[in-house]
Symmetry: C2
């Protein structure tokens, strides 16, 4: 059953987003490491969205969506549901816009991410840890308060905002051969894919998805949004399911999704900490893990990798938990 696809953002929307968020968002650096190049056997260009405000690319989309609203709509406040980085992004962007935000958070969300949401001044509403409960709680809040819902990825303004990651990366590194980004709900990957496909029609574009939450891979194979999988992965930011918008954009623009197990993610994450000296969360390391697990495909080529976030509980690191 293919649902009707809502209007999709285009490249012009990404350019508008770039201008809209410029006063607020970081233009994140693209870092390189000769020792990681040697290790991976290719030329790696890391777009460091862990250095973005709130520590993740999510700020771009939330900022674009919230600053796109007219004053009357914005004044009624913002509502969202998120297990982490998107919630913090909505909280900060709302504060910058000067409007209230309410974030529905499922039980079990990482404490460090909850702390950030509260720290940026949003009201937190807890719910059961299922996507259905999250959506129901957010819908109820919207109905009750008249607040504007900003979905983590099924929102054209959010997708266009995330696309600015690829816009900046390809403007600074125009000669890449391939681009890899993580995929959960698909906002980052679809925004980057539509941007990269416009700027560089010949560029390879890959998603990287945890084996324990490989619904996007399955959704692309079956040409429908699979939303009934239960996620089991250390990548807490990649547990979402595709929505009609993101599925449509991925179908159109990407070369494929590489499915990566958690052990490879932890290994890649540790390498990024050791060699690149960056604090990267598991979800943020998966695109690099995909390059390491598919060495032959990327050997000798110029690869852009999106490090999507760096919000980690520093008291319990995954390589220590495994010991």
């Amino acid at each position: 059953m293919t649902a009707a696809v809502p209007p999709l953002p285009d490249f012009a929307a990404v350019l508008s987003a770039a201008a809209r968020i410029a006063p607020h968002a970081q233009r994140t650096p693209v870092l390189r490491s000769r020792s990681l190049d040697d290790f991976a056997g290719c030329e790696l260009h890391f777009k460091c969205e862990n250095l973005q405000r709130v520590g993740a690319f999510k700020f771009r989309g939330a900022c674009n969506a919230i600053f796109s609203l007219d004053d009357t709509a914005a004044a009624r406040g913002i509502v969202t549901q998120s297990s982490g980085n998107h919630g913090a992004a909505v909280a900060l962007a709302s504060r910058l816009r000067g409007v209230p935000a309410t974030v529905v958070v499922p039980e079990g969300a990482p404490a460090v991410k909850l702390k950030a949401i509260a720290g940026y001044g949003a009201t937190i509403v807890r719910c059961a840890p299922t996507m259905a409960a999250r959506v129901a709680a957010a819908d109820a809040l919207v109905a009750r308060t008249g607040g504007h819902p900003v979905h983590p990825f099924d929102d054209s303004d959010v997708i266009a905002g995330q696309g600015t990651v690829a816009l900046e990366l390809l403007r600074s590194e125009p000669d890449l051969d391939a681009l890899l980004a993580p995929v959960g709900g698909g906002g980052l990957l679809s925004g980057c894919a539509l941007t990269a496909r416009t700027l560089r029609p010949d560029l390879e574009i890959w998603g990287a998805e945890p084996a324990g939450a490989a619904d996007a891979h399955a959704s692309l194979q079956e040409n429908r949004c699979i939303t009934d999988m239960t996620a089991h992965t250390i990548c807490d930011g990649l547990r979402g399911h595709l929505a009609p918008r993101t599925l449509a954009l991925l179908q159109r623009h990407i070369d494929g999704i590489l499915v990566i197990d958690d052990d490879a993610v932890v290994e890649a994450m540790r390498l990024l900490w050791e060699r690149l000296k960056l604090v990267v969360e598991p979800s943020g390391a998966i695109a690099f893990a995909a390059v390491l697990r598919h060495r032959d495909r990327f050997a000798g080529r110029r690869i852009g990798i999106v490090i999507s976030g760096g919000n980690v509980d520093l008291d319990t690191l995954p390589w220590q938990a495994q010991a």
Copy 2:
């Protein structure tokens, strides 16, 4: 007893060093964090030498010294003694120059740093964990092999190389009010001080030194190199003592040394990991700790902070060991 001061490097030597190391060294980014600015109450500009090759500023000085040698001298090989980052820096710079390196390492040096030295292809010679044993072992190697000694800081070429940190920082941020850098043997601080004083005579220049190894602070008070203190600090990179060259430059150029206890270092280190998303070693966090401990002095001002290195054993983090 004041020893005769050997010839000191000048600003021209720093400019020469910058040109000499440019093909090999990273031009490291200057990162900012609005949340850390709010937290510290001033405007922070972090010069990220943890993103330098080998993960520390030490590569600059070693590279300058080793590439300054003529071919005949270089071919006899390089000898040094180091508990860590300088050893790795000499190992890598020697490999790039295509000459052998031998590094004397005291027992008890961090495993992660030893691994790096070996990884870059240097020969490791172990010795007892005293400065006397290190110097004696290095001297014996120089006598036996005819190798060229590259002291970690008591070397004009090394000091000039470290000065390129301040050169890059002040070229990118010309309006700083103050500059802070860690001080162990004083190579980084003295090179940065002579550079900064030339470019910006009115700039405040401060060192930051661990309370458990505050020999530089005492040496400046007594106008002599105090070399008989035993260090007790988590800052393994800051256990060295000043040498005549570095003492002379610090006497001439800096405003003072701020002495910081280890608890403050660990707190600052964790903040840098959490908010700046950077892996920073304890020694690399001490200048930021000094800003936090001397809030009133730096309030509302534009502060340059050198993050000197990021080589940490990721299995045992100091805030976990304390728990």
